[in-house]
C-alpha cells in the first residue's frame, strides 16, 4: 500500500505542476520522481547537446503531431520532461534510467500495448537514440515558464473558507440592513457609486413573491401589504412565503434543473417500461425538503446515501431519485455511472469530473484516477425498488396482495433463469477460459451486439477475468498454475512452459492444489491448452456434482452440501460458491441485463418486472415507491479505463474522495461501495466547495447571476469573484446556522440590496455614471429585472385567471393535451425526456438529459406564436374576461381597473384606461358559442394501429368540421385522410390501418368511471370493421370485430386519473368498403378518489352523441382580446 501511495502522489503532483508552470515546479516534480526512481544528475552540457541534436528533433518529428501542444492522443504529450514522466492516461511514458520499464520504449519497439508511431516505425538507430537518452536519466534542459497560471492547488475555490467580518462602510451605514449590504455597499463606495432607492411596496411584493414562490401575489395580498404600517411587514411577508408549499415547489424546480429530472428513462428497448415509477416520489421529496428547510448537508447526504444514512426512514429513500432518475442510456452501465458522477460533482461541489473519464482534466487538478475512484463507488452500487411511504401507508390489502403475488412470480422466474444461465456458463467454462487471452474482442458494452444463448457472454468473460485477478492476489492454490503459465509471454510459451511445469512440481500441496497439479505434469503447448486442461477438470467437477444431486433426488435423501473430496469441493466452489463468476447477481434487472440472452430471455424476464410496475402505476391507491441505490455485496475494485474505453483497462485505483479536496492522503473508502463516505466528504465542514457552491446558487436565483457566474464550475477556470468575502461570509453563515437555506434567503431578501429599485439611482447624473462605469450591474447598484421562466409564465396565467390548482405533489400528467384539464402548477407536468413537447423547448426549459445550472434565455417568435395562438392562453383570457364582465354594477372603467389589478397588481394609468376603453369599443365581435366541459372532454381524430396494438399511435385530430361531421377536408373522401370521419352517431374508418377513426375522451379529474358502449356495423357487404377500446392507463380494455352485427359492452368501474384518455377506435378489417358504423358511448363519473383534493360526489356524465360538437371556433370577444393583450405584455412577463 505504501508504495502505491507514493506513486500516486508523485503522479498527481507532477501532473499538476507541469500542466501549469513548467519551469519551477517541474524541477520539484523531477526531484520527487528522483527520490522514487533513478539517480538523476543535473544535465551536463554534453547530455544537453545530445538531447537537442538527436532526441528533441526525433520526439518532435516522430511523435509531436499527435502528442504535442495541439493534440494529446491518449493524454500524452512529449514536449516536456514532466509530461513524459507523467505519461498518458495512467502510466509514465518514461522512467528515467530505465529504458526497459519505459512505455515509450516498448511502444517504439512495438512489443507492448502500443505500436508507435502508428504508421512509420522508427528505425533501429532512432530506437537506440531514445534508449540511450532514457538510460542517461532522460536529461532535459531547464525551460522557462510560458505564461500559465499558478499552481491549481492555490486556486481560490480550493482554499479553506475564511469568514471576514462585514466591512465597515462610510457613506450610508443606515442603508445596511443585513451584513450582505455592508459587503455590497463597500464595493459600491470603492467604485464611487451608490445604490438605488428602495423599490415601492407593489414592486417589492411582486418581486419577493416571484423569487420565493414563482407566482404573482393576488390583488388582495398586494393591497394588504401596501397598507400594512407594521415596520416588520416585509419581514413577516418573507417568512410567510418561506413557509408556503409554493416556496417548496418553486425552489424544488431549481434543484430539479440540476438533477436532470425527468419522468421517463429516455430511449429504451421495448422490453423495459419507459416511465419511471419513482420520479414523482423524488420530486415531492425535494419540495418537502425545501419547505421544511431540511439542513442542506442532510439534504445532500440523503440524496446520495439515504440507504445508509437513514436506512429505517422509508420516506427518505425517495431522496435517492437524485441518482436514479437520470437517462438510462439503453442500459449501458458505463454511461449511467458517468451521468451520476457528473451530476454529483457539478451539483454539489462545482467540479467537472466528466473530462477525467478519458484523461486527466485539462485544467482542473482532477486526474483520471479520481474519476475511476468515483466510478468504483457507483459501479459497486446497484438499484433497488422500495416503498417510500410510512409503513402504515402501504396501500390497500388488495393492492399489497396482488403486488406480492407479482413479485413472487418475478422471483420464481428469476431463480429459474439464474440457474439456467449459471449452468450454461458452467457448461462452457473451457471456452470462457480460452477466451481470457482475447478479452479485448469482447467489449462489455451492453447490447452492441445481439447475444444469443449459445454465444460467449462478454459479461462473464470480464467477471471471470476479475475473479482470476482476485484469485491471483489471494494466492489461491487452484489457480497458481494458471497464473504462472499466463505470465509467460506468448512467443516464449513453448520454450518456457517446461520450466514452469518443473517449478510447479516443486511446490507443495499448500501452494498448488494437487487436483490441479495432476493435470500439469506434462508441459502444455499453449495457454489454450492450459485453459482446456482447467476446463476439462471443472467440467468433470460439474458432472460429479450433478450426478450426486440426481442420486439424492432418486434416493429421496437430502440434497448434498458438498463433494466428499475436499480438493474437488474447493474446485466446485469456483463454479458454485457465493463468489463464483458463474452466478447471476441477485440484483435489480436494470443492472444485470447483460447476463441474459438479448432477445428471448431478457424480453421474457422483463415481462414479470413490467407486471409489477404496471400494477403499481395502474393502482390509484398505490403508495409512493423509490428507486434507491444500495451497495453490492461483492465489491470490485475499479480500474482505470484507458481513454475511457472499458475494453482497455489500466491499473486498479482505490475508491476514495477526490484528491483536490481530501488531499494527497485521501484514505480509501472502507464501507461497502464507499457511497456514504463520499456523501460525508461532500458535506464535511472541511470541504470548502459545497457550502460555497450552494450559497452562490441561492444568490444566483435571487439576483439572476451568481457571485461566481459559473455556478457549476468552481474549477481553476472560474476567476476569483470580486465578492469572495461575501461568498465566504454566506458560506460560513450557512454552516453556522445548521445549513439552513432559509437563513440565507432571509439574509439576502431582507437586505437593502435586494429591496432596491430596478430603475437605478434617482439622480440622473449618478445613474448615468453607474451605467457607464458598470453597465452589467456587477456591483448591484440596482436590482436586475427578471423575465418569467416557462413555469412562472404558465403558472401566472393560471393564477391571474383564477384557475390555478394548488394541489401539492402526486403523479405527473401532460400539460397541454386533454383539452384544458391540466391546471396544476407546471412543476407537475409530465416530462418525457425523449420527446419534450414544443412549448418546453421554445421557452428555454432545462434540457432534462443534462445538469442545467443556468437556463438560457432566448426570445424567439415561436414564443410569441404560442402566446398569440395557443388555446391555453386564449382560455385563460376567456376565463378572466368572464369573471371581469360578470362583476355586477360595475362600469367598464371599473372593470378595467379590476382587470389591471388582477394582472399587474396595480391600477391602470389614465392613459391605459383610455386606451383599453377605446380598444373595447372598436373591437371586432363575432358570435361566440361556448363549449360545455362535457363537450371539451371529447376529441375526434385518426391514429395508427396494428394487429396487436396496445394503444393508438400518432393520434391526430381531424382538421375539418362540416357542421355535422369531422373529417379530412371539405371534399370527401379527403386526398390524405381518405374516408376517415366521425359523426355524432358513429363514423367511418380511414383507408388503412394508419388512419383508424379515433373518438378520444379525456378524464378531467381523477376518480372512477363506468362505461356503457353500443357499437353496430350494419352492412352485409364487405368484411366488417375492427373495434378497440384503449385506456392510456390500462391498455386494451376491449377489442372486437363487427360485421353486420352489434356489440354491447358495460364496464362498471374503471380508475382514471386526470388527463388519462380512453380511445374508441375503428379501423378497416381486411379491405376498405362498407365500413360505416354506429357507436354510442356513455361515461359516468361514479366517484372521485377518496381523500383526494378533487373529492366530492359523482355527478358528471358524458355521452358521445349528445356531446358531439364542432370546433370551438368562437373568435375572442372584445373583452377576451383585451385580457389576452395584457397577458402578453412585457409588464406581465418581467418582474422588476
Amino acid at each position: 500500500m505504501g508504495i502505491r501511495w507514493t506513486r500516486y502522489s508523485v503522479v498527481l503532483i507532477s501532473m499538476m505542476l507541469c500542466q501549469s508552470a513548467p519551469a519551477q515546479p517541474e524541477k520539484q516534480a523531477e526531484k520527487t520522481v528522483t527520490a522514487d526512481s533513478a539517480p538523476d544528475a543535473a544535465p551536463d552540457a554534453a547530455a544537453i547537446e545530445f538531447f537537442e541534436t538527436s532526441v528533441r528533433p526525433l520526439l518532435i518529428s516522430a511523435c509531436g503531431d499527435c502528442h504535442g501542444a495541439k493534440k494529446q492522443w491518449g493524454g500524452l504529450r512529449v514536449d516536456s520532461r514532466g509530461a513524459l514522466l507523467k505519461g498518458g492516461d495512467t502510466e509514465p511514458a518514461v522512467v528515467p534510467g530505465k529504458p526497459e520499464e519505459s512505455l515509450l520504449m516498448t511502444s517504439v519497439r512495438r512489443i507492448g500495448d502500443y505500436d508507435m508511431p502508428p504508421e512509420n516505425p522508427l528505425n533501429a538507430n532512432q530506437i537506440a537514440i531514445l534508449e540511450r537518452w532514457i538510460a542517461m536519466g532522460a536529461p532535459w534542459p531547464v525551460e522557462t515558464a510560458h505564461g500559465e497560471t499558478g499552481n491549481p492547488e492555490d486556486h481560490w475555490a480550493f482554499q479553506p473558507i475564511s469568514k471576514a467580518a462585514p466591512p465597515s462602510v462610510a457613506t450610508a451605514p443606515d442603508w445596511c440592513r443585513t451584513p450582505v449590504d455592508a459587503f455590497i455597499l463597500s464595493k459600491l463606495e470603492a467604485a464611487q457609486l451608490s445604490p438605488s432607492p428602495p423599490a415601492d411596496r407593489r414592486t417589492l411584493i411582486r418581486r419577493v413573491f416571484y423569487t420565493l414562490t414563482g407566482l404573482p401575489p393576488s390583488p388582495e395580498e398586494v393591497e394588504e401589504f401596501v397598507q400594512d404600517a407594521d415596520p416588520l411587514a416585509y419581514e413577516k411577508l418573507v417568512n410567510r412565503l418561506l413557509e408556503s408549499p409554493q416556496y417548496g415547489e418553486h425552489w424544488a424546480r431549481h434543484w430539479l434543473d440540476l438533477a436532470r429530472y425527468a419522468d421517463t428513462k429516455g430511449y429504451m428497448f421495448g422490453w423495459e417500461p419507459n416511465r419511471f415509477l419513482h420520479s414523482a416520489t423524488y420530486r415531492d421529496w425535494v419540495v418537502k425538503a425545501f419547505q421544511q428547510d431540511l439542513p442542506y448537508d442532510e439534504f445532500l447526504l440523503l440524496q446520495i446515501a439515504a440507504d445508509q444514512a437513514a436506512p429505517d426512514d422509508a420516506v427518505a429513500q425517495g431522496a435517492m431519485g437524485f441518482l436514479t432518475i437520470g437517462r438510462r442510456f439503453l442500459g449501458n452501465d458505463h454511461d449511467i455511472i458517468d451521468d451520476r458522477i457528473d451530476v454529483v460533482g457539478r451539483t454539489t461541489m462545482g467540479l467537472t469530473f466528466g473530462c477525467a473519464r478519458c484523461h486527466d482534466h485539462k485544467y482542473d487538478p482532477i486526474p483520471i484516477t479520481d474519476y475511476y475512484s468515483l466510478y468504483g463507488v457507483f459501479g459497486n452500487s446497484t438499484e433497488e425498488l422500495v416503498p417510500s411511504s410510512p409503513p402504515t401507508e402501504r396501500g390497500s390489502e388488495a393492492f399489497r396482495a396482488e403486488l406480492e403475488k407479482r413479485v413472487a412470480q418475478l422471483d420464481e422466474k428469476f431463480q429459474e433463469y439464474r440457474n439456467k444461465i449459471s449452468d450454461r456458463m458452467r457448461d462452457r467454462i473451457t471456452d470462457y477460459l480460452i477466451a481470457q487471452s482475447s478479452l479485448e474482442s469482447y467489449p462489455d458494452i451492453p447490447f452492441s451486439q445481439i447475444i444469443a444463448e449459445n454465444d460467449l457472454f462478454p459479461v462473464y468473460l470480464h467477471r471471470l477475468d476479475s475473479f482470476l485477478r482476485r484469485m491471483k492476489e489471494a494466492g489461491n492454490p487452484i489457480f497458481i498454475p494458471w497464473h504462472r503459465y499466463a505470465a509467460i509471454p506468448e512467443e516464449e510459451f513453448a520454450q518456457r512452459a517446461a520450466d514452469v511445469t518443473e517449478e510447479l512440481a516443486r511446490l507443495g500441496p499448500e501452494q498448488v492444489s494437487p487436483a490441479v497439479a495432476a493435470h500439469f505434469t506434462v508441459p502444455p503447448a499453449s495457454m489454450n491448452e492450459v485453459a482446456e486442461r482447467y476446463g476439462a477438470l471443472f467440467t468433470e467437477v460439474t458432472r460429479d456434482w450433478r450426478t450426486l444431486n440426481e442420486q439424492a433426488v432418486q434416493a429421496g435423501t437430502p440434497a448434498p452440501t458438498a463433494l466428499p473430496d475436499p480438493q474437488r469441493e474447493a474446485l466446485r466452489q469456483v463454479l458454485y460458491g457465493d463468489d463464483s463468476p458463474c452466478l447471476v447477481p441477485n440484483e435489480s434487472l436494470t443492472g444485470i441485463g447483460t447476463f441474459f440472452a438479448t432477445r428471448s430471455e431478457l424480453e421474457d424476464i422483463w415481462k414479470y418486472q413490467k407486471a409489477i410496475e404496471q400494477w403499481i402505476s395502474d393502482s390509484p391507491d398505490a403508495p409512493a415507491f423509490a428507486v434507491r441505490m444500495i451497495d453490492k455485496t461483492l465489491i470490485d475494485e475499479p480500474r482505470v479505463f484507458r481513454r475511457g474505453n472499458p475494453a482497455t483497462k489500466g491499473n486498479e485505483v482505490p475508491r476514495r474522495f477526490p484528491l483536490i479536496v481530501a488531499g494527497p492522503d485521501s484514505p480509501p473508502f472502507l464501507k461497502g461501495s464507499g457511497r456514504l463516505e463520499l456523501a460525508q466528504g461532500i458535506v464535511s465542514p472541511d470541504n470548502p466547495l459545497t457550502p460555497r457552491v450552494w450559497v452562490n446558487r441561492i444568490w444566483q436565483f435571487h439576483f439572476g447571476t451568481g457571485l461566481v457566474p459559473t455556478p457549476s464550475d468552481f474549477g481553476v477556470r472560474a476567476p476569483e469573484p470580486a465578492q469572495l468575502a461575501l461568498l465566504d461570509w454566506l458560506a460560513t453563515t450557512l454552516i453556522e446556522k445548521n445549513w439552513s437555506t432559509k437563513e440565507i434567503h432571509r439574509l439576502i431578501l431582507l437586505s437593502s440590496t435586494f429591496q432596491q429599485a430596478a430603475t437605478g439611482p434617482e439622480d440622473l447624473t449618478v445613474r448615468r455614471q453607474a451605467e457607464e462605469q458598470d453597465p452589467e450591474n456587477h456591483l448591484l447598484w440596482k436590482k436586475g429585472v427578471h423575465r418569467l421562466t416557462f413555469e412562472e409564465f404558465r403558472d401566472s396565467l393560471l393564477k391571474v385567471s383564477g384557475d390555478l390548482d394548488l394541489t401539492v405533489g402526486g403523479r405527473s400528467s401532460t400539460l397541454f393535451s386533454g383539452g384544458d384539464s391540466n391546471r396544476r402548477r407546471t412543476l407537475y407536468g409530465f416530462i418525457d425526456r425523449q420527446s419534450l413537447p414544443g412549448p418546453y423547448s421554445v421557452f428555454d426549459f432545462a434540457n432534462p438529459d443534462l445538469h442545467i445550472p443556468v437556463r438560457s434565455e432566448t426570445t424567439v417568435s415561436q414564443q410569441a406564436l404560442f402566446a398569440l395562438n395557443h388555446p391555453f392562453v386564449a382560455t385563460r383570457a376567456s376565463e378572466l374576461a368572464a369573471q371581469i364582465t360578470a362583476l355586477q354594477n360595475a362600469t367598464p372603467a371599473e372593470q378595467i381597473q379590476m382587470l389591471f389589478r388582477r394582472i399587474f397588481q396595480r391600477p391602470p394609468t389614465p392613459r391605459q384606461l383610455e386606451m383599453s376603453l377605446q380598444f373595447l369599443e372598436g373591437a371586432e365581435t363575432q358570435a361566440q358559442p361556448q363549449l360545455t366541459p362535457e363537450q371539451l372532454a371529447w376529441q375526434y381524430g385518426t391514429g395508427a394501429i396494428n394487429d396487436d396494438a396496445k394503444a393508438v399511435l400518432n393520434f391526430q385530430p381531424l382538421p375539418y368540421f362540416t357542421g355535422s361531421s369531422w373529417q379530412g377536408g371539405a371534399s370527401f373522401p379527403d386526398p390524405t385522410l381518405g374516408w376517415a370521419q366521425l359523426t355524432a352517431a358513429g363514423g367511418h374508418p380511414g383507408n388503412d390501418h394508419n388512419h383508424a377513426a379515433v373518438r378520444r375522451w379525456t378524464a378531467p379529474r381523477s376518480g372512477t368511471i363506468s362505461i356503457e358502449s353500443l357499437a353496430t356495423h350494419e352492412p352485409t357487404e364487405g368484411n366488417g370493421i375492427r373495434c378497440w377500446i384503449f385506456s392510456s392507463r390500462h391498455g386494451v380494455l376491449n377489442r372486437f370485430l363487427l360485421h353486420h352485427s352489434s356489440q354491447k359492452i358495460s364496464l362498471p368501474s374503471l380508475a382514471v386519473e386526470t388527463g388519462d384518455t380512453l380511445d374508441f377506435v375503428v379501423d378497416i378489417h381486411g379491405s376498405l368498403g362498407f365500413d360505416q358504423y354506429l357507436w354510442n358511448v356513455a361515461i359516468q363519473d361514479v366517484g372521485a378518489l377518496a381523500g383526494t383534493a378533487e373529492g366530492g360526489p359523482a355527478e358528471k356524465e358524458w355521452d358521445s352523441t349528445r356531446d358531439f360538437v364542432g370546433p370551438a371556433t368562437g373568435m375572442l370577444t372584445p373583452w377576451q382580446q383585451l385580457v389576452q393583450v395584457l397577458l402578453l405584455s412585457n409588464e406581465f412577463l418581467f418582474v422588476d
Partner: protein, 481 residues
C-alpha cells in the same frame, strides 16, 4: 475588477461581427428588413440576464465559406453502400460462401451476398452507381462520394447520435444547431433549422436535431410534411380564435402598453420581445407561403414527382431559397432503410421514393444558381454487411445486417469537388481500408465548407470549450473544389 464575461456568454467566440440591434433598427426605417433583424433573440448583457446571450442574426464565419446553407438527405435505418454507391463485383465470386473478410456485427451473417442490382458508369467521371439511384447518378459529376466512412458500433441509436451530433452517447448539439450557432439565419421569419420526416419521427426522435447545451433557439424545428395545411406543419402558426385584423389591433395595443412600460427600464430584452411579436405576426403569413408547394409551376412540381418525398424535397428548396440555413430530410418514421430481410424489394421501393426528388433538387438548385453555395449531403447512420443476414434458424433472410466498419456518404454543391470518389472499402465492402474517414472528419469538412475551422467553433459548457468534433476530425481536402 468586475467578473469577466463568461466566455459562453459571448455569442461570437470565433470573432464574428456583432451587429448592434438598435442601430440596425434605426437604419431600417420600417423596423424590419428582409435580412435578419439582428438581435431578435438577443438579451445582450442586460443586467440580471442569467444565461448566455445568443441570437440567430447573420454572423460571419471564420473565413468565407463556399457553402451558405445545407440540405441533408438522411436515409435513416442504414442504406446499403454495396447496393448503391460502392460496387463490389468480388462478392459474386464468393456467393454462397463466407468472404475472406467477415466481421462481427449486431447479428449473425453468413455467405457473401452480391448486390442484386446492376451498376453502371455515369458522367465524365465514370463513377459507378447502382440502378437504384440512376436519376441521381446523372448528376454524378457534381457529387463527391466518400466510400470509406466508418462509425463506432453497429447499432442505430449511437450511430444516429454520432452522425447527427458528433457523439454516440452524450447529449450534444446537432450539426444543424452548431451551424445555426455559427452562422445565424438569413430569415428571421422562419426557423433557421428545419427537420422533416414524413408520418412521424425517426428513432431517437428530436434528439437527432437537438440543441444539447446550446440554447433552445438553435434546435431543429420538426415538420411532418405529410400534412397539407400550414397549422399542422408548424405549431401555433394559425390562430383558432382571432382573425388577422383582430390580431393587428391587439398587437397595436400591446405595443403601446409595452412602449410605456419600456420607458422605465433600460433593458434590451424588452425591446427584443416587442419585436418578436411583430415577427411572429408576419411569420404566420410567410410560413404559409414557404410551405405551399402548390405555388410552384406545374413543370417544377412534375420534375420532383409525386408523393410525400417529392413534396418535402420541394418544400426544402423553397425554405433554402428563403434563407433557412439547415434542412434535414428524413426518409420516414422509425428506420425505413433497415433491411435485415428482403433487401432487394425494400431498397428498390425506398430508393424509388427519393431518387427522382434528389435528382430534381440537384437540377433545380443548379438552374437557380443555388447549387454552388448549397451543400447537399446524402447518407445514413451506417451501411450494411456484404454478407447475408441469418435468422435464428441459421437460414438466409435475404437481407443485410448493420455495418459500421465501412459505408458510403456523398456530398454535392457548396464548394465540393464533383465527380470524386474518396476512400475505399475492402474488396467485399466490409471495412474502410483506404483513407478511412470518421464521422468527425465528415463534420470537420462540412464546417470547413461553411467557413469554419472546426477546432475553433466552440461553446463553453461544463467548464470547458466544446466543439462538434470533440478532439478529432480532419478536413478531407480531396473533396474540396
Amino acid at each position: 475588477m468586475f467578473p469577466p464575461q463568461i466566455p459562453g456568454n459571448s455569442p461570437f467566440p470565433f470573432g464574428g461581427r456583432v451587429v448592434d440591434r438598435r442601430s440596425m433598427l434605426q437604419r431600417s426605417a420600417m423596423g424590419m428588413g428582409t435580412i435578419g433583424l439582428a438581435g431578435l433573440m438577443s438579451t445582450p448583457r442586460s443586467v440580471g440576464a442569467a444565461g448566455p446571450a445568443l441570437d440567430s442574426s447573420v454572423r460571419q464565419p471564420h473565413f468565407p465559406g463556399t457553402a451558405k446553407r445545407v440540405i441533408h438527405f438522411f436515409l435513416n435505418g442504414g442504406p446499403s453502400h454495396i447496393d448503391t454507391f460502392d460496387p463490389k463485383p468480388m462478392l459474386k465470386k464468393y456467393e454462397g460462401q463466407a468472404p475472406p473478410v467477415s466481421l462481427a456485427t449486431e447479428r449473425k451473417t453468413g455467405a457473401a451476398f452480391p448486390s442484386p442490382y446492376s451498376f453502371k458508369k455515369y458522367g465524365e467521371s465514370g463513377i459507378e452507381v447502382s440502378e437504384l439511384f440512376a436519376k441521381t447518378a446523372e448528376h454524378i459529376d457534381d457529387i463527391a462520394v466518400i466510400r470509406s466512412m466508418y462509425a463506432q458500433v453497429p447499432n442505430h441509436e449511437p450511430s444516429l447520435m454520432l452522425m447527427n451530433c458528433g457523439d454516440s452517447v452524450l447529449s450534444r448539439p446537432s450539426v444543424g444547431a452548431w451551424t445555426l450557432y455559427g452562422l445565424g439565419s438569413e430569415n428571421q421569419n422562419l426557423p433557421g433549422f428545419i427537420a422533416m420526416c414524413p408520418q412521424g419521427l425517426p428513432i431517437k426522435g428530436s434528439s437527432n436535431w437537438q440543441s444539447g447545451f446550446l440554447p433552445g433557439a438553435f434546435q431543429g424545428t420538426y415538420v411532418d410534411p405529410q400534412h397539407q395545411t400550414i397549422d399542422k406543419l408548424i405549431e401555433n402558426i394559425r390562430s383558432p380564435h382571432a382573425s388577422t385584423s383582430m390580431q393587428r389591433r391587439q398587437l397595436d395595443l400591446l405595443q403601446s402598453l409595452n412602449s410605456e412600460h419600456q420607458q422605465q427600464f433600460a433593458d434590451d430584452r424588452l425591446d427584443s420581445r416587442i419585436q418578436s411579436f411583430e415577427l411572429a405576426f408576419r411569420m404566420q403569413m410567410e410560413a404559409a407561403d414557404a410551405f405551399d408547394v402548390e405555388q410552384e409551376p406545374e413543370h417544377i412540381q412534375q420534375m420532383y414527382g409525386s408523393g410525400v418525398h417529392a413534396r418535402q424535397t420541394l418544400i426544402a428548396r423553397r425554405l433554402l431559397e428563403r434563407g433557412v440555413r439547415y434542412v434535414q430530410l428524413w426518409h420516414g418514421a422509425g428506420q425505413p432503410w433497415d433491411d435485415h430481410a428482403n433487401i432487394e424489394k425494400n431498397h428498390r421501393k425506398l430508393a424509388g421514393e427519393i431518387d427522382q426528388p434528389i435528382a430534381a433538387l440537384l437540377a433545380d438548385l443548379k438552374q437557380r444558381g443555388m447549387l454552388e453555395d448549397t451543400l447537399v449531403l446524402w447518407g445514413g447512420e451506417f451501411g450494411r454487411t456484404p454478407t447475408v443476414e441469418l435468422g435464428g434458424d441459421g437460414k438466409s433472410q435475404l437481407g443485410r445486417d448493420h455495418n459500421h466498419y465501412g459505408f458510403s456518404v456523398w456530398m454535392a454543391g457548396g464548394g465540393v469537388r464533383g465527380g470524386t470518389v474518396y476512400g475505399t472499402t475492402d474488396d467485399y465492402g466490409f471495412k474502410a481500408v483506404e483513407n478511412p474517414t470518421s464521422i468527425h472528419d465528415f463534420h470537420a469538412t462540412i464546417l470547413h465548407l461553411l467557413g469554419f475551422d472546426h477546432e475553433k467553433l466552440t461553446y463553453r459548457y461544463a467548464g470547458r470549450d466544446f466543439r462538434l468534433t470533440d478532439v478529432h476530425g480532419h478536413v478531407i481536402q480531396e473533396v474540396l473544389a
